[in-house]
């Protein structure tokens, strides 16, 4: 049924609705405020794609929730097993401190320069500039909490494993062996230096200078 008041349906410029030749058969004979509708069939690519997504969804759901596909936790555990294998190899590499290896590394690398970089990327937020100490202890003075001497051999396990109770992270899991070497070389070099802001001494006196 067509509208009885065409004059209200035309837009203000009184243009006739623009209908193409090939559309005339599809024009539905009803309008809303001058809006007409054609009845083109659903585009076939649209129907096929929609059907494909529905099929994909059904199979996906069945695979993961009905025939024993892995859930997220299982996938995670699989990934972690692989990762832990890799980490175990790396951990074995740092489990013992090899002083020969350390000394060789120091000779063939600019250990103080690299050490300062590593320090500033990782240690400075707690041990402050030039080892002055802030949240973590002062590294320049003669007083130590976790070691009895300022040597690489003593420092290495503290840096590698951290000190959980005091908030010192286990750097062995975060930075590489070489980076730890560099950091230690730098810390050893801080002995007796004067940082911009020095925290008061903590721990026991183990050095004389």
């Amino acid at each position: 049924m067509s509208d009885k008041n065409d004059k209200n349906d035309k837009n203000d410029k009184n243009e006739k609705l623009h209908v193409l030749e090939d559309e005339k058969a599809l024009l539905i004979d009803h309008s809303y405020d001058g809006i007409h509708e054609l009845n083109h069939p659903l585009p076939s690519w649209w129907m096929w794609t929609w059907s494909a997504t529905i099929l994909y969804s059904i199979f996906y759901f069945i695979f993961y929730h009905m025939v024993g596909g892995p859930n997220l936790t299982q996938e995670f555990e699989k990934d972690m097993i692989r990762l832990n294998e890799i980490k175990a190899i790396a951990a074995a590499d740092v489990s013992n401190f090899d002083i020969e290896h350390y000394n060789t590394w120091k000779k063939t690398n600019d250990s103080l320069k690299i050490g300062k970089e590593v320090y500033e990327e990782n240690c400075i937020s707690c041990h402050a500039e030039a080892g002055g100490g802030d949240i973590g202890p002062n590294l320049t003075d003669a007083y130590w909490i976790n070691v009895k001497e300022r040597t690489a051999t003593a420092l290495f396990p503290v840096i590698r494993d951290g000190v959980e109770d005091n908030g010192m992270p286990a750097w062995g899991e975060i930075i590489s062996k070489e980076e730890m070497y560099a950091a230690m070389a730098y810390i050893v070099s801080l002995k007796g230096t004067t940082p911009p802001e020095a925290k008061e001494a903590q721990g026991e006196k183990v050095e004389e200078f």
């Binding site: 209200n8 623009h18 809006i35 759901f61």
Partner: protein, 717 residues
């Protein structure tokens, strides 16, 4: 034809004009806020050092302004204008219309005041506290009455497709808003949701995603179906397609909510369901795009010259792009990369600016000249706005794609010794800050274009000589249609009540199936006896976390992925958030995830970090939170808060309930004593920073204890 009685009526266009003014003003505010927060990420100093202007407090103001103030008012303008004409009837009630208008603006003002002051629920796009939520519900019901009343009074028997979309909008938004906002008030501007943990997450994202669907999309699909054929003077491409895509859209959209929760601790089957339904939603959305664009067949030459069609055609194109990107992002493996990154932010804005901002501009360029009986002041200015908006948006999208994927790749990079390549989160931030500048610049272009439009429209109105209210004539609606051979759907289009009921059922199905299990979840959320409720002081700290909007930058949900296990610890479990009201899993990692930050740094680190983040992380973009050191944490409301939590099911002991204040003060004293060793004055013990530290140091701790015990048990077996 002679014996048909013609009724005379006029349309209420004054109301539409009111909503047009509001749209333009709030659009400017929303975009200005957007540009501001964009610059705040590029440069932390733009936070201005004040508690009311931090990113955490302004970002919700931006989202609320953009969604409810800008898009909301535009939606009402479009719906009121088109509905009257499509039903050939004046609005049901002029008075209700004005209550709607003024009520809605008051709600916006309430939001503008309350959000910067920190009165927030901490749930995205639902931040407004309970009194404002009630106001929204009331005004929305007023709107519904006016809309459905107009349908009842209609003279045009069958409902045009635009009206179907309006019906779906009104019904669904009602359900979403009411259910998601159910909360137990503590005081006038503070409440806790009745849902906790994964229930809260599921309800929140059922709401959040469908706010996108039924507030940002469906009303504007209706608007598209009205304004494009009108402006182009062409028939709509396919009636058949409009039926199929309407029903499939309203049915499927609801299920997609949990795609915001992929790889979290919500049940696997819910995640899969959300993903596959999002994928199935792709073609139904494109149905809208096809109908919108192909209606322009034969009028492409007009698209080149007419700003209305230029904006509308482009908006539909961006709609198509965004509704492809959405399902793509909902695929689990892709989501695994994109979630928490800026790619999602880029996706959001391709929709909100590409679709909403542009179609609103097209609609305004159509309505204003028409309603003020004049021509547009400057087509050149409109074209300039078009290019500014398009280029600005492209800059936005591309910078966010780049930033998002770069950050995702950096987060997950593991070297051959099994260590993170970028163990320091800040490295991933620093790398993408240049993209933040590009995005902010894109935003400036978009805002500039909008200002041009404001100017253009104002001058258009100024040169108008006014339009007398036009009178129209139409016969009353036939009681029984004279149409023959009606298809079933055609018959349904003549029965708005049945249509509404069927739409309501369609939108309820997805929600019920996905949420009901979690509402009766006692059997399925693994209870863990090691997980204990937060202490009173920690609740005070948690509420500060929510108030300052920390969740806007820091997520609290570790995903089951190896790089996250290395960076943050074991994946979060559902049991760990069982007492969290509201849940604070977050949607973005502008800063690192905090789910297991408890015990990772000592109290002094947090003390320093909040006061000046750059002291502990030199390149940080986090604002300073100096007022936490001056303001006392709220202790008077603590007993009430604990009682409310208990009423909601959190197992506080009688001792905790009776001695709330004492327990809080004692815990605060202990923390401050520890800090005092390093020079912090004891008078800090009642300040907000201490409460916040208490909360942060609790995060993930119970879970760790639980895992230790489980390991012990396993090794003993």
């Amino acid at each position: 034809m002679n014996d048909v009685k013609m009724e005379r009526f006029k349309y209420d266009d004054e109301l539409t004009k009111l909503f047009i003014f509001a749209t333009v003003i709030w659009g400017f505010v929303a975009l200005l806020l957007g540009v501001t927060v964009a610059f705040q990420l590029a440069s932390w100093k733009v936070n201005m050092g004040l508690e009311w202007s931090t990113f955490g407090r302004l970002r919700p103001l931006h989202t609320n302004a953009a969604i409810f103030a800008f898009v909301g008012n535009a939606m009402f303008a479009g719906i009121y204008y088109s509905t009257q004409r499509l039903t050939k009837s004046r609005l049901f009630s002029d008075v209700l219309g004005r209550i709607h208008f003024w009520g809605w603006q008051l709600i916006i003002v309430a939001a503008a005041i309350s959000l910067p002051l920190g009165f927030t629920t901490g749930k995205e796009y639902a931040e407004l506290e309970w009194p404002i939520d009630i106001a929204i519900a009331v005004i929305w019901v007023v709107f519904a009455i006016n809309f459905f009343g107009t349908l009842v009074k209609r003279r045009e028997k069958h409902l045009y497709v635009a009206l179907w979309f309006y019906i779906a909008t009104i019904v669904t938004v009602t359900v979403l808003h009411v259910v998601n906002s159910i909360a137990f008030p503590v005081d006038f501007m503070k409440s806790y949701p009745v849902y906790a943990g994964i229930q809260d997450a599921l309800v929140q994202w059922w709401y959040g995603h469908n706010a996108v669907a039924f507030f940002l999309t469906t009303p504007f699909l209706g608007i598209m179906y009205y304004f494009i054929p009108k402006a182009a003077n062409r028939p709509v491409y396919s009636y058949r397609l409009s039926i199929i895509h309407f029903w499939s859209l309203v049915f499927l959209y609801i299920w997609a909510g949990p795609h915001h929760l992929l790889y979290t601790s919500v049940p696997d089957w819910v995640q899969t369901t959300a993903m596959v339904f999002s994928v199935m939603l792709w073609m139904p959305s494109w149905g809208g795009m096809i109908n919108g664009l192909l209606t322009l067949r034969g009028a492409w030459d007009k698209v080149r010259t007419d700003p209305v069609l230029k904006f509308m055609a482009t908006s539909v194109t961006f709609y198509g792009m965004a509704t492809f990107e959405g399902p793509l992002l909902a695929i689990k493996s892709i989501n695994g990369m994109a979630h928490y990154t800026d790619w999602i932010v880029g996706h959001v804005h391709s929709g909100t600016i590409g679709w909403n901002y542009m179609i609103i501009s097209g609609m305004l360029y159509y309505l204003v000249p028409k309603m003020w009986n004049t021509t547009l002041y400057s087509v050149k200015m409109a074209n300039a706005q078009f290019w500014l908006a398009t280029i600005g948006l492209l800059l936005y999208m591309m910078s966010m794609w780049t930033a998002g994927i770069t950050q995702a790749l950096m987060w997950r990079a593991i070297d051959e010794t099994g260590k993170l390549v970028y163990p320091n989160f800040i490295e991933t931030v620093v790398r993408i800050v240049p993209m933040y500048w590009v995005r902010a610049f894109g935003g400036v272009l978009i805002l500039a274009g909008f200002i041009l439009m404001m100017y253009n429209l104002w001058l258009t109105i100024k040169k108008s000589k006014g339009l007398e209210e036009q009178e129209y004539m139409a016969p009353a609606m036939e009681k029984v249609t004279s149409e023959v051979n009606q298809t079933a759907h055609r018959k349904l289009e003549g029965l708005p009540t049945l249509f509404t009921v069927l739409t309501t059922i369609a939108i309820l199905v997805g929600g019920i199936i996905e949420i009901t299990p979690s509402l009766i979840s006692d059997t399925f959320v693994e209870r863990d006896s090691e997980i204990k409720p937060y202490s009173p002081l920690e609740i005070a700290g948690r509420d500060i976390f929510i108030k300052e909007g920390c969740y806007v930058c820091h997520s609290q949900q570790i995903r089951p992925m190896p790089d996250e296990a290395l960076r943050y610890g074991p994946p979060s479990t559902a049991a760990e958030s069982v007492y969290d009201r509201p849940f604070q899993w977050g949607s973005r990692r502008i800063g690192p995830d905090l789910a297991r930050v408890g015990g990772k740094y000592n109290d002094m680190w947090h003390f320093r970090h909040m006061y000046d983040p750059r002291e502990v992380t030199p390149k940080s973009i986090m604002p300073e939170y100096t007022w936490l050191f001056k303001k006392k944490f709220e202790i008077k409301t603590l007993p009430k808060k604990i009682k409310v939590m208990t009423a909601l099911g959190v197992p506080y002991t009688d001792h905790q309930i009776k001695n709330t204040v004492l327990l809080a003060q004692k815990q605060a004293f202990e923390i401050t004593k520890g800090l005092n060793v390093d020079g912090v004055d004891m008078k800090m013990q009642n300040k907000e920073i201490i409460a916040l530290i208490a909360y942060l140091q609790r995060l993930g701790v119970d879970g760790a204890r639980s895992r230790e015990l489980k390991k012990q048990v396993r090794s003993e077996q």
